[in-house]
Symmetry: C2
Subunit: 102 residues, 2 copies
């Protein structure tokens, strides 16, 4: 762990409405767009009743930049009006990490 | 955000083997046990091909304590030998949080 360089995670937890028309197209667009963002390191996204999406970033400035990206702002607004009943966003500093491979 | 008190998140990302006999019973036991741990704040868990479980804790000591809990050590060992192809554990400090309710 000596050389571990901290980075950031955004934990996005959500529940969706029953009718989420237009959501999957927008999610696909955002998936493409986020990869082009400065400081983006990767993302994992899983949904059952609750959805958890965790994106990883080099620093807080990169997270802020993505939050304010113009097309992402439109997606966020649509999310609040059309798709999400509830969501929670947590900005986290990743301090340690370990991995297992079988 | 003035009064926000930082806490910790453990992001556990994993892929499982095809045959995971005994896993669901153990997962149920661990779900019960983790709730009794000192400093435990909550947990969200979702699985498709990849699983993401995020648990929330008051401090690093509580995370360390849970990692070393005796029944949990048995579960971790079984996880490595029997159930997981791969997993990653990230210890994170939650620095900011916001929520949306429709």
């Amino acid at each position: 762990m000596k050389d571990f360089k901290p980075y950031y995670a955004v934990i996005f937890t959500s529940t969706q409405k029953e009718n989420i028309e237009g959501y999957s197209e927008m999610a696909k667009q955002m998936d493409e767009l986020v990869k082009q963002q400065y400081g983006f390191l990767g993302m994992d996204s899983v949904r059952e009743d609750v959805g958890i999406t965790v994106s990883y970033w080099e620093n807080l400035d990169a997270i802020k930049n993505w939050k304010q990206q113009s097309e992402h702002l439109v997606a966020q607004q649509k999310g609040r009006t059309d798709w999400y009943n509830w969501y929670n966003v947590r900005i986290c500093k990743v301090e340690r990490e370990y991995e297992f491979n079988s």
